[in-house]
Symmetry: C2
Subunit: 205 residues, 2 copies
């Protein structure tokens, strides 16, 4: 690798690092090329040699890698245990994420970025689980919207309350709200829930 290639790599690393710092400190509408250039010690012109816009940089650094990580993992919507497992997985991942990702999930000014990530992952999952709920397509869309939206909403409330509720209690409460709601609509889920509670009362004896 020659000096010019190395310079490109260094510049890109400086841009990304300044960008990550800015997301952690600033609102979405404060992410300007001028501010980024100043923090990365480059000219605005240099920035535009690498990216067309702040949004393209957001795609490259945040959106694409996150979508790839989640769509690389197959999930099933076949049983109520799968649903509970996905809620648990989401909450566990959320508690371990970087400050940058937590800002994008929780800060109102980044909501449109979060929604773009979420839309992409959910469209992929819906496509791969079409018909899994045995509902007509319109009802399936409503139930999927219910399922998909609650984990981020509940996580944001938990964060807003200073993460004071013990994590396991919070996860159990979230799973209960989501699975019991879905059990109303999805054929078979209610029986699976009833079966679970029989199991657990049997094991408690």
């Amino acid at each position: 690798m020659n000096e010019s290639d190395l310079r490109v790599l260094r510049t890109r690393a400086a841009i990304k690092s300044a960008f990550e710092q800015m997301v952690c400190e600033l609102d979405y509408d404060q992410l300007t090329v001028s501010e980024l250039a100043s923090r990365a010690h480059i000219n605005r012109k240099t920035f535009y040699l690498h990216y067309q816009s702040i949004d393209e940089l957001m795609d490259d650094v945040v959106i694409e890698p996150t979508v790839a990580e989640f769509t690389g993992k197959d999930v099933s919507y076949a049983s109520i245990d799968d649903i509970a497992g996905i809620v648990r997985f989401y909450m566990t991942m959320a508690t371990k994420q970087s400050k940058l990702h937590e800002r994008i999930m929780c800060e109102p000014s980044y909501r449109s970025v979060y929604e773009r990530i979420s839309r992409r992952i959910m469209d992929y999952r819906r496509e791969h689980n079409k018909g899994a709920l045995h509902l007509d397509p319109l009802a399936e869309n409503i139930v999927y919207a219910f399922f998909e939206s609650n984990s981020p909403t509940l996580y944001r409330q938990w964060v807003a309350d200073g993460k004071k509720m013990p994590l396991e209690d919070f996860i159990e409460l979230s799973i209960g709200l989501v699975t019991h709601g879905m059990a109303y609509a999805v054929p078979g889920y209610q029986q699976q829930l009833d079966h679970q509670s029989t199991d657990s009362s049997a094991s408690n004896q």
Copy 2:
């Protein structure tokens, strides 16, 4: 009223009317003072005699009147019927709203405006229904977040699907998802739900 007062009224009406038109046609970040001045046939300077910014105009035209309308109506969270009634009221209001309000509820670029309205109404309702769910405050916050977020989420999905599901079916499904989720967490709600279904199976005979 003298000619100067009338002129002020005419200018404000022209600003509001141009603004409403712009919200119906443009994304949130396209709402500029230049565009508004051009549509209202005024100078930018004249705009700033009346409002400090587009956001102040949004407050005056959209946010304050909407918050006042909803906080003027007392709602109770005491029983599962109250919860079902609030979901039904929300969906019925949503189907009757103006194009401007539907844009603010459904268009992703207006999400931050919607969230500001929603936050204000929900803070007011939480304050007036503190303790109504007989949960500890942290669990109550999570359950309220669940309750508050689902109606707009489900309504947006229904609109995205071209409002093809019959309205009554959609309202029933939404009420079922929300009330059965909450019945998992709120003491007494499950018994009220069971009682309802006994009633309705009795009346079906």
